[in-house]
Homo-oligomer: 417 residues x 4
């Protein structure tokens, strides 16, 4: 299944390469419509769910991304009339410079506004945006659209987590066709040296992807594909979750406190919870919904290590990007050579999320977008099956706390050359 | 406003007195319909809310009361086909003898079954019950109906709490007409002596109301009406919430930990959150949504005490019962003499909730209904404005933990004679 | 072993009966010396331990009981010079009327004052008290002495708990001689009726023991002796700790949260931790260190119930009191008839701790002594092996929260007549 | 004051440079004696204190460092008789490969063994070590001695924290003489380029300091001295602790949760708690006992940033090392030029604690020494006034979680060149 499949066309896929061919208004309409297509299979009750403080209700995501356009763009026009003054408070996520906000862990308690009211809010914002689109700063609009794309992925992550709490295992979508069988994995060698990483400023990128800067790396090797469920099973069978010396100290403490014995959505009898409902585990598919701690322990067990984000970025630009957004469950690797750099899962790196040398957040409130989260998190690279088409880049820096498991995240191994 | 007002008629009000006049099938239909009338103003999103572990979503209440009939009555018939086998797990509240169940704090995460599916479940159970009603034990049916009436009150308590967490203060119902002004309160004296309390077995009662038994009480006086918001305001103004010597030790610790400075739903600028939305505080209305700790501290501040449940019961049977279920916000006392014994608010007593001498719970799973909660809670007597018509009795023993504030509970003072 | 054994003599044992024979000064000296004798086997390191917020370091107890005399008696004399002004803050336990105080859970962090300094403080207070003893109110002095006796018991409870946290199982005292074998238990019947309970004001009693008042009780039977370890073992073997229907709801939740599988100090291989170190479990000795929840579940399993405090008191005054303070571990019952009403263990009752009718705490700060704890706790009656000689009475109301297990508490069963 | 001052002599100070001049036995004796000198001013009660899970009692430190020699060295000799077999369990810190251990947060509950017994344990280990010193691996002995030096610093950190919880503010040592006035701070520029960092293997280093490896750094500037209390005061006055946009998101959450308004030991009326007791704040002294979050917020407020550990190391090797271990409270900077690189405080860097490229922990149990802590922590560089003489190095990598404040840690600013 393709999320919002009826919306995807060449225009979207070509965005990065021939972005100039579509108007900003068309792109705005396309992104906004895709969010609604993603929410379409969900009932009002589904859209109300918040299964943990880190997650948000679908309808809250739908409102918040509109709040972003209203706050950072429409509010520049004194003639703009907000849809509802209370929304400034209700749908602010974490922007301290904007003001007070509804407590994050209680987003699931906002039954009002209803889904219908939030859809009306979206329509109101869309009319106002499209009426002014030529007079507003294009870079901020593009930020708002990329922001909405990030929330499209979050909607799917969050509803998967929420549905997983229900004993009747609701399916977001009907079961998918059987996967192709994946091939064996090899290794690809890279020379290292004084390289450059980071975004060079051509086309859209988030602020945390720059500045581009020099870095020295030694020669290294990268696994051609992601670690599979079958390989993870061998780790479990070998006592991976009960051998403290394989784990970072914080990781081992988390294993004990949370009772981890397998990846997040694995269930008894070799079954796994997915957005297609409960399914048999496919041993050839990449292992998903693991934490950094588990990725790191697996690498140690395998006698390997995780790549740094610089190594990953150097490798990624050596191959043509694979598309994201093509399914809601990661598929086995096919073919040979370095692959699955995007399109299956985000990939934990060994790099703590920190500012690049010379990084300065924007002076206005959008400066809170990324910079203030630069502690206590690890960088993931790549792009998942649920990442919107055209949203990922080789310089893209995703990040989550080391114990987080609800992201579509997997493992690629690295080693010395 | 009268909840489910169109359903209430003489038949209901007369239930206790001339119960024989209506058939059990009619009574079943009436109670079941009233639950749905209470839920009618609530959207699917509203019905999904669970604002704290002690509360449940509206739709969960609607399903659980049906589960009760299915589990304790319909399951006796081998020919009965359950609506959905998973519901046995999802909608069991706390009956260990029945089996495992969905975790209570996560009831709000069950977006499926939807409200529509739960309404279909109710219809299925209703058809099955009405088809078998003459062959099933009438006392168990009556227990199920009284159980459902208790949940009708819980639905209103819980949605009030949930709505109160929303900054836009949703209203369950439009504002009510202005209240009448309440009169001054006096005291009524009772002689005490060797009295009997507890239910005598004629007509329906919960098991915890019996056995009827002898008890010695000394002469005492009871306040004619409940403590008002205006009187509570004087307590606040006098430093009631900042004077530790007025409080029980556990109460004072709770004041500090929770930051209590007023009753639960009081807000700035002398406003109060109600099921009618935010309103001005009516100084003549009885103070509501206070904990036992606050009731006890107020009584100490006033130089009085709370009544025991035996004192309360002796007094209550000396006056004609006032009707419950007539509004969704407690109204000021009118008239003179001992009043508001029911119909406005439940009333905290000085009695810890404990079994009466000789109490034995039922041998089957319904034995878990009341008995296992007989520790750590205080008895409330009376009946609130939101209590279903005809549901309360002078022997009725309601109970909540001493820190609970979301019940429709107030204070009546007592003193030595 | 007898605690403070060298201090015990006929004078102490006879206190209640012929109290007039010893002077108040002698009694003061005797009680104060006994506290120090109890602490004598403990090193400065031992005396520093606080193993949970409910417990206190030995040296803190030694200082606090002196603070009591200083605050409520010596401070009445303007000429009295406090030993150290900081102690007013450090050693106030819970008297809000006296002022701010050191946080209870951090008493174990007060390495200064040292044990030696606290002993000097005690000597300072003793000199001042004895110099003024004829001019100070005798009832308050007696309250201070009974207060100190309560802390003598707490010192032993608390050090037992603290030592139990140490894998090397330190012994407070060398092993005791083997116990006598206990006999079978029968039942004693009581008639009930309109009885009086509570202290009548002759001789010392705590305020919570009065006023004496009338109460109606039905005929009942009381077990002749306490439940034994052997009987408790049968409860365990029968799945007592894994059968939810035997438990109060709060009790069952505590079993799960705390992982209870046996009484507090039971260990593997039928061994038990005592103040004599680790020992084999004596099946004839009374089961000890159980919570109210466990006592209640055991009674339900046995088809019996716990006595009310009124039933217990009526029964207790029908037999001659057994002495307390004769050992540091409870011994098996010997002989026949109603016994172990004191001297072995405190006994959980079915009564929640509440004020007696007409109870009024003292107007001064000593009014905080008992009254403010009258919620959330259960009454225990009797007196333990570690209770100071002469300290218990048939009207004595001890109290602990229903989950507390570190008191020397056991079970006596009751039943209808 | 100089800690263990009577033990310090030229031999110690010269260790790094002419290490060959003293025998390993002499060095063993010197380090071991210094630990005992540090503990000497502390009473048995003081040595029992554990004020938070991260801290340990003094006597536990004294035993654990002996356990290290016993476990990793003496146990190699089958003829060695352990002092007490239980100590293997009691004094293991975190070595999973060695076996089970006493829970870390409960170290303060081990009143036994007493201080005297632990001193006897030390003597036993010393005799056994000195008898075998020529036959045991010198590198492991050196690791054990450096390990003990780390605990010498921890003893002082931990007792400072414990004493700070006591309202009477105990002093570890008498007040020190008044400090010299510090001079203004300038900036020193460094060229960057392809540099090498990490230990080269000549002389002792911890495993986490290597392997030495190449890294590219851009030109940068480093502040000549540490940020002072006076400068921190300006940050506070400017609303530093109440301006969310200055903080990392996790930092701001911590400010709120912990109520931070100033560095850890600052008190009202411009006073500060130190190991000399409470003192006036010296505005010229470097600010100490701040978290990484605070250091980072201060740097943002100042328009600067924290140095990376590579920048810091390059700068440090450009100047002669200043001695550590010369006082128990950090002193103002004197003189001019780059200074206070060691001897005053550890200095937070912008670098998350991660393995150097090619890092592999040892194969035996000592491999747990550092590697497993390489997540969730930030690197500090330098060396504090309380760091043992000769213990620090320019390659030394200290590390603490970003919210930790009880280390002797301060801030040095960095900037682009």
């Amino acid at each position: 299944m393709l999320i919002g499949g009826n919306l995807r066309d060449d225009v979207i896929l070509d965005r990065e390469h021939v972005g100039g061919r579509i108007s900003l208004a068309d792109r705005y309409r396309t992104v906004r419509a895709r969010s609604e297509a993603i929410a379409a299979p969900l009932s009002p009750e589904d859209q109300q769910l918040q299964s943990m403080p880190d997650a948000s209700p679908t309808k809250w995501h739908l409102a918040h991304v509109s709040w972003f356009f209203e706050t950072f763009l429409l509010a520049r026009d004194p003639a703009y009339r907000p849809f509802d003054p209370a929304y400034k408070f209700l749908f602010n996520s974490y922007y301290d410079a904007i003001g007070a906000r509804h407590p994050r862990p209680q987003r699931g308690l906002l039954s009002r506004p209803t889904v219908a009211e939030i859809m009306a809010y979206r329509a109101h914002v869309d009319r106002a945006m499209l009426a002014r689109i030529d007079g507003l700063p294009a870079d901020l609009i593009e930020l708002g659209l990329n922001h909405e794309e990030q929330h499209q992925e979050l909607i799917l992550m969050d509803i998967k987590h929420a549905f997983s709490m229900n004993a009747i295992a609701p399916a977001y979508a009907p079961p998918a066709e059987a996967s192709a069988v994946g091939g064996e994995g090899g290794w690809t060698r890279f020379d290292g040296g004084l390289i450059e990483i980071g975004h060079d400023g051509a086309g859209f990128a988030f602020d945390n992807e720059g500045p581009r800067h020099r870095q020295w790396i030694e020669p290294f090797r990268l696994a051609d594909r992601l670690v599979t469920n079958g390989e993870w099973d061998a780790f479990i069978e070998d006592g991976g979750y009960s051998t403290p010396t394989l784990w970072l100290s914080d990781g081992w403490a988390t294993v004990g406190a949370e009772g981890w014995r397998s990846p997040l959505y694995w269930r008894d009898e070799r079954r796994i919870f997915t957005l297609h409902g409960e399914q048999p585990i496919d041993p050839a598919a990449p292992v998903s919904h693991i934490s950094f701690y588990e990725a790191d322990a697996f690498a140690r067990w395998a006698g390997k290590r995780l790549p740094t984000e610089a190594e990953w970025e150097v490798a990624a630009r050596s191959v043509a990007p694979e598309p994201t957004g093509a399914s809601i469950d990661p598929r086995p690797a096919t073919g040979t050579g370095l692959r699955q750099m995007a399109g299956a899962l985000w990939q934990w790196t060994a790099s703590a999320y920190a500012p690049y040398p010379g990084f300065r957040p924007a002076d206005d409130a959008t400066g809170e977008y990324n910079g203030k989260f630069m502690s206590g998190q690890m960088v993931l690279r790549g792009g998942a099956c649920i990442t919107p088409p055209g949203h990922a880049r080789s310089t893209y820096r995703n990040f989550f706390p080391p114990a987080a498991r609800w992201a579509f995240a997997g493992v690629r191994l690295a080693d010395e050359a």
